[in-house]
């Protein structure tokens, strides 16, 4: 946990394409930015959901992948030196006496700024949780959606559920320290990398790991400590696997999260904004990209870019009261070219 308080002009919640382009537009106006994102890297949905998928509707780029778009945006904003706080969730927002905002993250980071820009897309990416009765009781004691310390699983009987890379990678990484690893997946086929699947099968053949074609059906325990994981299989029906830990890996899903408690007007988990400034119901808090809504809204990356540009004009007036907003083109302005580091 950090206790240091950072200061900047604008805090952007979400480092997806719209948040990144907002860094650019705000940067052209001389405004400094901090970004907070729950993922471990920039790109938002482009990086998490479809890094390899093609995008054809970015103006002047006939085709790029989600990852390429992210990489290009990162290159475009580099000159503005944005500060990224990855793997942190924006959690609390307080208005300070001097009119600025203080944002607190779940990791204890505090950032003070004149303006908040919510560019959070569909919300925070959080682990998808199996729908099992009583599962929540064992979360953080026996049920984990991420591995922080491998040592914590030493000598434990572990059930890992899922068929993606996270499931296979952790099955392989925990096998040497665990007493027993059982991988549970609904089919004998995996979306995970073939090399990991081969390594898993080799361990199973050597009797060092168990693989069960089944699905999670429940957890058993005394309410504080889990004792076994119930699985159901098409051929064998239900059975219990004695276990100290359950690690379900079914990817991520999006939840609005603590933004819902910022006091903003919401419309079915979207934030209504005006189309002149993209300001929310609270002055100096703006919302751009997929998370906002207004008449005629289209959830397109290009719309988010437009929203970022207009929002930045309004944000400037909040950050630099009394200063004149100068409209310039990057093609001709030596001032902008200096900011871009090309002059």
């Amino acid at each position: 946990m950090t206790t240091e308080t950072h200061e900047t002009d604008v805090i952007i919640i979400g480092a997806g394409p719209c948040g990144l382009f907002a860094v650019f537009e705000l940067g052209l106006l001389g405004l400094k930015t901090y970004l907070v994102d729950i993922l471990d890297r920039a790109g938002g949905q482009c990086a998490e959901l479809y890094p390899e998928k093609p995008i054809y509707d970015i103006p002047a780029i006939p085709m790029c992948t989600g990852q390429e778009l992210t990489d290009r945006l990162m290159e475009q904003v580099k000159a503005f030196d944005p500060v990224f706080h990855f793997q942190e969730m924006a959690e609390g927002l307080t208005k300070l006496d001097d009119g600025r905002w203080e944002l607190t993250t779940d990791q204890g980071t505090k950032i003070v700024a004149h303006v908040i820009v919510i560019a959070a897309g569909g919300g925070s990416f959080v682990p998808k949780k199996p729908h099992l009765e009583g599962l929540a009781e064992y979360e953080d004691t026996s049920v984990f959606y991420a591995v922080r310390k491998i040592d914590a699983f030493a000598g434990k009987r572990i059930v890992i559920a899922g068929g993606g890379d996270s499931a296979l990678d952790w099955a392989l990484n925990l096998q040497p320290v665990a007493e027993k690893v059982t991988l549970v997946h609904h089919r004998d086929g995996f979306r995970a990398a073939p090399a990991s699947v081969d390594a898993m099968h080799a361990l199973v053949d050597a009797g060092k790991m168990e693989f069960k074609i089944a699905q999670l059906a429940g957890v058993n325990g005394d309410g504080t400590k889990m004792t076994s994981v119930r699985v159901k299989s098409k051929t064998d029906g239900e059975s219990d696997i004695p276990a100290d830990a359950l690690l379900p890996f079914f990817g991520l899903t999006m939840k609005l999260g603590p933004i819902a408690d910022f006091g903003l007007n919401l419309n079915e988990n979207l934030i209504p904004v005006g189309t002149e400034k993209f300001e929310t119901s609270i002055p100096s808090i703006f919302a751009i990209g997929d998370i906002n809504t207004y008449p005629g809204k289209l959830k397109l990356i290009l719309s988010g870019f437009h929203e970022a540009a207009l929002m930045s004009q309004a944000a400037f007036l909040v950050c630099r009261p009394g200063e004149r907003l100068r409209f310039q083109y990057t093609t001709s302005s030596s001032d902008l070219q200096k900011k871009l580091g090309v002059r």
Partner: protein, 105 residues
Amino acid sequence: MKVHVTDLEGNTKEIEGTIGWTLMEVIRDGGVSIKAECGGACACATCHVYVADDWMDQTGERTEEEEDMIDLALDVQDGSRLACQIELTEALDGLKVTLARDAIL
């Protein structure tokens, strides 16, 4: 054409379908809540539905890409499909599906 979509509570809604659209698009625009987070790119598994037994022949097999993505779905059944991967045709008039929990919650 019509499709019949049943939600978690067991309520069934008849939705007007459009040939050539995906089932996900028709459900989304038909006023039934479905997450469909990636917008139809077969990249998330949050448009997970169960096709009724007597419609499974008509909706066909999962593609390999869809099969891989269903590895991230919860409570997989024989009729599990991603609604964004079912394109509506004349033959699917009357199709019955039930939303999976991970398409809603």
